[in-house]
């Protein structure tokens, strides 16, 4: 049982990070039905912005979070304006291709500018102590970093829920995702609302990027690819377009993944995650929290 609970703790940290990335995916998908393949790379950019803030501006980690969130939000909005907005009325596949293009651009631009070196955040940014934990008489260990990741994720999710459900901007976002044309007729500035969605999603990705960098103690220009893909899987498992779905999917995927590595083999982790995805889609095609809409003629 010790292994089980220990993997739950590890899974919660990883799942938090997936959930934060998945939120950005799902919000963007909810509002313009686009799989934003560049999302994982925005996360990478966020991790690097924080790195430079900490190393060259010598500010503390909290400033790094704030500046990185602002920087990534800007990046997200720029990407949306340059690559997706001109294609709003084109076929659905066209923005998907520019999203892939943006993803390749950020990855390879990152490799060109930052090099292939793996960097890590300087030590002592946060106190990372082992916390002995006893649960049902079983001794487990969690680190303060793991708690911090979970805490930040929960706070971010509460903030997001507040924005989406209790602010005018959030109401606009919900309206646009429900019916963009009707929202426009009601006087909602659809373009700005979409940009805001990208800004929010990208800021969340930045937080996820920093947490991922702290958790694995390394950052590199291609760090966004796999977590980005996994987070998308998480969003789909939860029900894409649904904010609670991204949270549930993220945690579920994180825990499942650590369980597979813990009990079985870490080599088989990725294929099994994708197998799980396909199985879930077969049983519940709209994801765990999604409603199966019957198509009407």
């Amino acid at each position: 049982m010790a292994v089980f609970f220990q993997q739950i703790i590890n899974g919660l940290s990883l799942g938090s990070i997936y959930a934060l990335i998945a939120l950005g995916y799902t919000m963007v998908y909810g509002i313009i039905q686009l799989i934003n393949f560049a999302h994982g790379d925005i996360m990478m950019a966020g991790a690097y912005i924080a790195f430079f803030v900490v190393v060259y501006l010598k500010l503390n980690i909290w400033w790094a979070f704030i500046i990185s969130m602002i920087g990534s939000a800007l990046l997200g909005v720029i990407i949306e304006r340059v690559a997706y907005k001109p294609l709003r009325n084109a076929t659905r596949l066209a923005p998907l291709i520019t999203a892939i293009g943006m993803s390749l651009f950020l990855e390879n631009g990152g490799l060109m500018v930052l090099g292939t070196d793996i960097r890590s955040y300087p030590g002592g940014l946060i106190t990372n102590a082992q916390l002995p934990l006893t649960l049902f008489g079983i001794r487990l260990t969690a680190t303060t970093l793991q708690l911090l990741i979970l805490a930040i994720t929960i706070v971010m999710m509460i903030i997001l829920q507040y924005i989406v459900h209790y602010t005018r901007a959030g109401k606009a976002m919900r309206a646009v995702s429900y019916d963009a044309d009707a929202a426009r007729l009601m006087g909602i500035n659809v373009d700005n609302t979409i940009s805001l969605t990208f800004a929010l999603g990208s800021a969340f990705a930045a937080v996820a990027g920093i947490l991922l960098g702290l958790y694995y103690n390394n950052i590199q220009p291609l760090m966004g690819i796999m977590p980005g893909l996994k987070a998308f899987v998480a969003a789909v498992i939860g029900g894409i377009g649904l904010i609670p779905g991204a949270m549930v999917g993220g945690f579920a995927l994180g825990i499942f993944e650590t369980m597979v590595s813990g009990y079985w083999s870490s080599n088989l982790r990725d294929p099994i995650v994708f197998l799980l995805l396909i199985l879930i889609l077969l049983v519940k095609p709209a994801g765990l929290l999604g409603k199966n809409n019957t198509e009407k003629v």
Binding site: P86, F105, V233, A286
Partner: protein
């Protein structure tokens, strides 16, 4: 069943196809084509097969699939096992690779094709990753190191014949009743079903056919480059093929061919620039897509009819 029309147009195309074959064959025999050019020539052919076969799934049937590299991997590995480990002749391996990929297409297609749009995209992307992950973990096929020492059996003749065959079969398929059914599904699945089209059957059929030719491309690839690794078939590879299809125009075979040629050429031309190559490639991709979202050809074909019509030589309908 097959109506062979020896009209002027078909004869010109046939002559062109044969001429290109002997032209390249001759150049190769004389030694004008350098090793680097030959590699790109092979890549060109393989990319055309991949793009045309994916166009059948994405462009004509309207099913967004992101796992084409997975089918290519199945074909490559099965064919490589047959020639390298089991000493079978190349044609057998080629066919076996293609059929295995088609079977994989049916296995993945039957359950997932009832998913729509982006769910299908992520399910097929997942399938590609499962194949790659499996290849990474099977020691018989070399695991992550891949298979080395595959005999180099792919030559210009094999490549060209397979390429022409792919284009021929898929073009004829699209112009048949079955192909029309696929296009109907793309245009409106519910309406197609109401008209009595068995949508599942045709979607799986298109999927299996696309996978079949992707398998051929994989087998050709494996037997040209001696070496295949699971990382040759990442989802970036699937993206690459999708880019060619969208770039050329969804539902345009000639568009796919032109785009595959263009992208192979750009890749080759920028070869020396290392990472910068991918940056330029990405920027080009975004710019071209933003300014021409319907792709180079839209859903139209480059036909001799139209070309001749400009000179007032041919009358009659021009297809689209």
């Amino acid at each position: 069943m097959i109506e062979v029309r020896f009209n002027k147009k078909n004869l010109i195309v046939l002559a062109g196809v044969i001429l290109i074959y002997f032209l390249v064959y001759g150049l190769q025999a004389v030694g004008v084509i350098s090793a680097f050019q030959e590699i790109n020539l092979m890549m060109l052919g393989i990319n055309i097969i991949l793009a045309v076969s994916l166009n059948l799934i994405v462009g004509f049937t309207g099913q967004l699939a992101l796992g084409h590299a997975g089918f290519m991997a199945v074909g490559a590995y099965v064919a490589a096992i047959l020639t390298t480990n089991l000493n079978q002749p190349f044609p057998v391996a080629l066919l076996a690779g293609a059929f295995s990929a088609a079977v994989a297409g049916i296995i993945i297609g039957l359950p997932t094709l009832r998913l729509r749009g982006d769910y299908l995209a992520i399910a097929t992307l997942g399938f590609g990753e499962i194949i790659r992950g499996a290849a990474n973990n099977i020691n018989y096929i070399g695991g992550a190191a891949g298979m080395i020492g595959i005999p180099q059996l792919t030559n210009w003749t094999w490549l060209y014949v397979m390429m022409v065959l792919t284009i021929l079969v898929i073009t004829n398929f699209i112009n048949s009743t079955h192909g029309r059914a696929c296009v109907a599904i793309r245009e409106n699945e519910i309406a197609a079903e109401t008209m009595g089209i068995n949508t599942t059957y045709y979607k799986v059929l298109a999927f299996a056919m696309g996978a079949f030719f992707a398998g051929i491309a994989g087998a050709l690839y494996a037997h040209y480059f001696y070496l295949i690794q699971p990382n040759t078939f990442t989802f970036f590879r699937s993206f690459d093929i999708l880019v060619m299809v969208v770039f050329g125009g969804l539902g345009s075979i000639t568009g796919s061919i032109i785009a595959a040629a263009g992208i192979t050429f750009v890749n080759a031309a920028l070869q020396d620039l290392a990472v910068l190559r991918m940056v330029i490639y990405a920027v080009l991709l975004i710019i071209i897509m933003v300014f021409r979202p319907q792709g180079l050809m839209g859903n139209k074909e480059f036909t001799l009819d139209r070309w001749l019509k400009k000179r007032g030589a041919v009358s009659g309908p021009t297809g689209n």
